[in-house]
């Protein structure tokens, strides 16, 4: 198999082994990832212990005592259509003060005015697609294509908690202060991550998100 794509497929998705206890499902796009994640979360195949969605893939960890790569691949590939209803997640509204350091730069990059950048960001309907980078850091899809800008050439050493930022096709709220290369549009006081809460992460995969401009 060396040099060729591994695994089995159903014409749309490919399932490849990822070590002895996981498979990686390659999907067409974020929509399919969310759909398959929703469907499997709702009705997990035998032996599945964890689902980890990402941009184009879904990692499915399993207990090798209860299933095998082959059996699990069969179970997964049978889901040839995604359960869209399973994706109707709850909606969270986050109030943002659009005072980010990179607003002018983003305006310049996109050829829009600062006001238009803010309006387009505020008007988007977003879905938390997956988490990564840091605990509670959710990649939100649905960003207006006019706002797709590359991340900064040199990341900041410190981005404050609550920073609302964009990079590529995603927007996000920094859950904690950390280094970061995303473009800062503003900030929110809405706590998206709190380990003391029963649900520490406000923006779990599938959650719909809206941003509204903070009133003074």
């Amino acid at each position: 198999m060396t040099g060729r794509a591994m695994g089995v497929h159903n014409g749309r998705w490919r399932v490849a082994p990822y070590g002895r206890r996981a498979v990686l499902v390659d999907l067409d796009g974020q929509e399919d990832v969310l759909g398959l994640h929703g469907a499997l979360d709702h009705e997990p195949p035998e032996g599945v212990v964890e689902l980890v969605p990402a941009a184009r893939t879904l990692l499915v960890r399993f207990d090798p005592e209860r299933t095998s790569h082959e059996r699990l691949a069969d179970d997964l590939l049978r889901h040839s259509t995604v359960d869209v209803s399973a994706r109707a997640g709850r909606e969270v509204v986050i109030e943002v003060r659009y005072d980010g350091e990179d607003l002018a730069e983003v305006a310049e990059c996109t050829g829009l005015s600062v006001a238009e950048v803010v309006t387009r960001h505020e008007q988007g309907g977003y879905v938390a697609a997956f988490c990564g980078f840091a605990p509670g850091f959710a990649y939100l899809t649905g960003l207006d294509p006019a706002l797709h800008v590359p991340r900064r050439a040199t990341p900041r050493t410190r981005v404050p908690a609550g920073a609302v930022a964009i990079a590529g096709e995603y927007t996000a709220v920094y859950p904690n202060s950390s280094p970061g290369g995303w473009r800062l549009l503003g900030h929110t006081g809405h706590p998206v991550w709190d380990v003391e809460r029963a649900r520490p992460n406000l923006l779990t995969p599938g959650t719909r998100v809206r941003f509204t401009r903070a009133r003074r």
Partner: protein
């Protein structure tokens, strides 16, 4: 009265670890926990604890503790010189410390990490159900500093039942078994053969996140980067330089470099003992055990 362990010297890097936070990757939280899980489990069993109790993970020794009350401890993992109450003591065995007794862990002759369990476990505050320090996700207690006081818990299974658990030594040139994929198609046809052909060398870039290796580069068949995708411990991620990074306990939940192979769970404890400068080999293994 609650017993305490006082940290006199933390050594180069010592953290509190248990078996981590499994099942939370979808919210961006990795499993973390002891890098050498077998050594943590053994240390706990030796002192009559449940296997997942919180203990200390010491990197390259240099650790000195003092007990406030009579406590039973055990040291496992990389073999290192041990002094307890001023007298030499052995690894992989329960050791009783009297009130005021010190426990000193020297530098391991081989391997990287040793574990100190105390009967009752370390009763630090749990975060998301675990006491492990996730160095990348910044969860759990901070790394030890001199003066840190660690409360000892009360929950045990029963009295220690063995005097010694004989353990094989660590190999001078460890061999880690891998299964190929999932991104073999990102590499040239001979990359996998290259990976298993000659030993790699462990660089000084070693921490709980991973081990950067140097050796025969693995040539890419494709340019560019992958969109972020989930990782597992043991994944061999290959950045554009072509030399792999082996992910350990605190690996990022998602990564953007293609993974050529995965070190099996059965060899991860050995991987956690990889020390800068030593050679390491990879061998192909079957997907089903």
């Amino acid at each position: 009265m609650t017993a305490k362990l006082e940290v006199l010297k933390p050594g180069p890097f010592t953290t509190v670890q248990d078996l981590g936070r499994p099942g939370l990757a979808a919210i961006g939280v990795g499993r973390s926990g002891a890098a050498d899980r077998g050594a943590l489990r053994l240390a706990n069993r030796l002192v009559g604890n449940p296997e997942g109790h919180a203990a200390l993970e010491s990197t390259l020794g240099g650790l000195a503790l003092r007990a406030s009350e009579t406590v039973t401890v055990a040291v496992t993992g990389a073999p290192c010189p041990i002094t307890a109450g001023g007298r030499a003591a052995g690894p992989n065995a329960p050791i009783v410390l009297r009130p005021g007794d010190g426990l000193e862990i020297g530098t391991p002759e081989r391997g990287l990490r040793c574990y100190v369990a105390v009967r009752g476990g370390l009763d630090v505050a749990p975060v998301l159900g675990a006491r492990a320090t996730d160095t990348l996700g910044k969860l759990g207690p901070p790394p030890l500093v001199a003066g840190t006081t660690l409360p000892v818990g009360q929950v045990t299974l029963g009295p220690p039942t063995v005097d010694l658990a004989p353990r094989p030594g660590l190999p001078a040139e460890p061999c880690l078994r891998i299964t190929p994929g999932p991104r073999l198609d990102w590499f040239t046809a001979d990359a996998l053969a290259t990976l298993v052909s000659r030993p790699y060398t462990v660089t000084s870039d070693v921490d709980r996140v991973g081990v950067r290796l140097t050796g025969p580069p693995l040539a890419r068949a494709r340019e560019g980067e992958l969109p972020p995708e989930a990782c597992v411990p043991g994944a061999l991620q290959v950045p554009p330089s072509g030399t792999p990074i082996l992910f350990l306990a605190d690996h990022p939940v998602t990564g953007g470099y293609p993974v050529i192979g995965v070190v099996g769970e059965e060899d991860l404890d050995l991987a956690a003992q990889l020390r800068p400068g030593i050679p390491v080999r990879f061998a192909l293994s079957r997907l089903t055990a």
